[in-house]
């Protein structure tokens, strides 16, 4: 079941991942062969088998919601790619 070029572009869009023309062609081939390999799982009988999301016998871990001092503003903004005053600067999110 090979992936189509449109499907590759659709997945990239969902993942907000820019791809070059070369990437699209290469991923179309490579992802198709990997997905093909996955087909073996279809033959495994999982009737009435519950899914495992993680292996610990833990559910709904709770802790007290104690207020703590946050990081200093400068510490957090030190890694900002673009900064304006005390804000992270980004391009307009909403259209005019």
């Amino acid at each position: 079941m090979p992936l189509t070029r449109d499907e590759v572009q659709h997945i990239a869009k969902l993942a907000r991942l820019g791809l070059s023309e070369d990437d699209i062609a290469r991923f179309q081939e490579q992802l198709s062969s990997i997905l093909d390999y996955f087909q073996a799982l279809r033959r495994v009988d999982t009737e009435n088998v519950p899914p495992t999301s993680h292996t610990l016998p833990l559910q709904n871990v709770m802790r007290e919601d104690d207020p703590r001092p946050p990081f200093e503003k400068e510490t957090v903004l030190a890694n900002a790619p673009q900064r304006e005053d005390d804000c992270f600067r980004v391009r307009a999110v909403l259209e005019e």
Partner: protein, 489 residues
């Protein structure tokens, strides 16, 4: 007693004894390790960042604490940290361009623990980008070379950590293991690597890849050192909700030189037709040694779902990764493309230019497996087969104290040999992945050098029974000489 030379070749416990007796200072030890790095790392390339000034400062502080008779097993011991673990004030790249300039404002839990213990951090080690890879070649910066043969890979993703310990550039290192990333490079580089039970070590400050699989653990020159480092970094941490509230034993007490009374299982699915003869012979010899040490070895164990583990893993891990890596959008930290047409264009190009091929491939795979119409067929199906794999391990542990299996199907392969065939590269992890899927502890131990290249076995234990795993590994190690070999550099 004369101080053994060279100092960089010491194990953690040997160095700790010399430090405690004041026969060596941490400053001398740290300088010896830094000199060794300068001597060999242009060939090995284990490090992404060296912290020489900080290391010398930490060594002086450790010497001060030792002078005040403070004791702790890692006081003054130089170690290296995989660059996927956050270190306050020291850049942490995950082997990726997208985090090239990222400086964490906090320490990971394991770094807090190591600092309390007084360790000396010599640097941050190279790795496959975001821990995705089995050779170290997916680092955005440079490959790392196997100390036993510089034309070969050291294994991955904890490539630099394994190569650094093997070549004497650190007395120990931390790595992370999502599908074999501690055990496989340890095996291919001829050192010990220990992945603890999922939940044993806090993941706070470990940059997330596959959150239900990731676990931090030690790479060391021997089993005793692995016990010492694990004791230091294990334990409950409320900042990781999957950190287990289970007591941490004194692991060194479980290190006894015999295996009497233990029943070990050997799963036959780990010895497929056409298996590498060097690996098979080394495994057979190792199993006979374990019998000589008093273990009962049962070669009739079967874990029939083992052949499905690879597919399960390459659905679950990329699915979790595609969600975890959504945070790299170029807004708050890291590489940011700013010249695009609009916000979305910038975000897509940030990720296009910031991530390497393997990371993109896995984001694509995971996004596909989680997308509308495919979730049930891929992600949910994989989670159900995950249950079957775990149940088979549980059943085997009903009548066996631990399981023994090969780590890597082959010794180290050549740099460049598998980079163009992702599926072939994924097959390097075929024996290590089931352990992560089931959340079990497993240690990789060297057991031979066919053709001059190291191979190893893994001991797989019951959940939170790291003590038995260490006992089996230690007894074998002490009965053999492999752990004393060092690469000719």
């Amino acid at each position: 007693m004369p101080v053994p030379e060279p100092l960089y070749a010491l194990t953690v416990h040997e160095a700790a004894e010399l430090l405690a007796r004041r026969e060596v200072s941490s400053l001398e030890l740290t300088r010896a390790v830094l000199d060794r790095i300068h001597q060999v790392d242009d060939r090995i390339r284990a490090f992404l960042t060296l912290c020489e000034d900080e290391a010398l400062q930490q060594a002086r502080e450790a010497d001060g604490r030792l002078a005040r008779d403070e004791t702790s097993p890692l006081m003054g011991i130089p170690g290296a940290i995989k660059d996927v673990i956050c270190t306050k004030g020291i850049r942490t790249t995950c082997g990726s361009r997208i985090l090239d300039n990222f400086v964490p404002p906090f320490d990971a839990f394991v770094i807090e623990r190591l600092k309390e213990s007084g360790f000396v951090m010599v640097g941050k080690t190279n790795m496959d980008e975001f821990a995705m890879g089995s050779s170290g070649e997916n680092s955005a910066f440079h490959p790392t070379h196997n100390p036993w043969d510089l034309e070969r890979v050291p294994g991955g993703s904890s490539a630099g950590s394994a190569a650094a310990v093997a070549s004497g550039e650190a007395l120990f290192a931390l790595g992370s293991d999502t599908g074999g990333s501690i055990r496989q490079p340890a095996c291919l580089s001829g050192v010990v690597g220990f992945k603890p039970t999922y939940g044993r070590v806090s993941r706070f400050g470990l940059v997330a890849f596959g959150s239900s699989l990731d676990q931090i653990g030690p790479l060391t020159k021997g089993v005793r050192d692995a016990a010492i480092v694990l004791r230091c970094i294990a334990g409950h941490d409320p900042r990781d909700s999957t950190s287990a509230e289970v007591d941490v034993p004194e692991y060194e007490q479980s290190l006894v030189p015999d295996l009497r009374g233990l029943r070990l299982g050997v799963p036959r699915e780990y010895f497929p037709e056409g298996m590498d003869q060097g690996v098979r012979d080394a495994m057979e010899a190792a199993l006979r040694t374990m019998e000589d040490l008093g273990a009962e070895v049962d070669r009739e164990v079967s874990l029939p779902s083992t052949p499905h583990a690879l597919a399960v893993y390459y659905i679950i891990a990329p699915s979790e990764a595609s969600a975890n890596l959504a945070r790299y959008d170029g807004v708050k930290y890291g590489f940011s493309h700013t010249e695009g047409q609009d916000m979305w264009d910038n975000m897509e190009k940030t990720r296009q230019f910031g991530f390497g091929d393997e990371v993109k491939r896995r984001i694509m795979l995971g996004t596909y497996a989680l997308s509308a119409g495919y979730y049930d067929a891929y992600y949910l199906k994989a989670q159900k087969v995950r249950t079957l794999i775990r149940r088979e391990f549980d059943a085997a542990f009903q009548s066996h104290d631990a399981l023994v299996a090969p780590v890597s199907p082959t010794p180290a392969f050549k740099i460049g040999e598998k980079v163009d065939d992702p599926l072939q590269m994924y097959l390097s992890d075929v024996f290590t992945i089931p352990v992560n899927i089931a959340g079990l502890p497993a240690i990789s131990v060297p057991c031979g050098f066919p053709g001059g290249l190291p191979v190893g076995f893994q001991v797989i234990g019951k959940p939170f029974d790291e003590a038995t795993v260490l006992r089996v590994a230690y007894a074998y190690e002490q009965a053999t000489e492999w752990h004393k070999r060092r690469p000719p550099l």
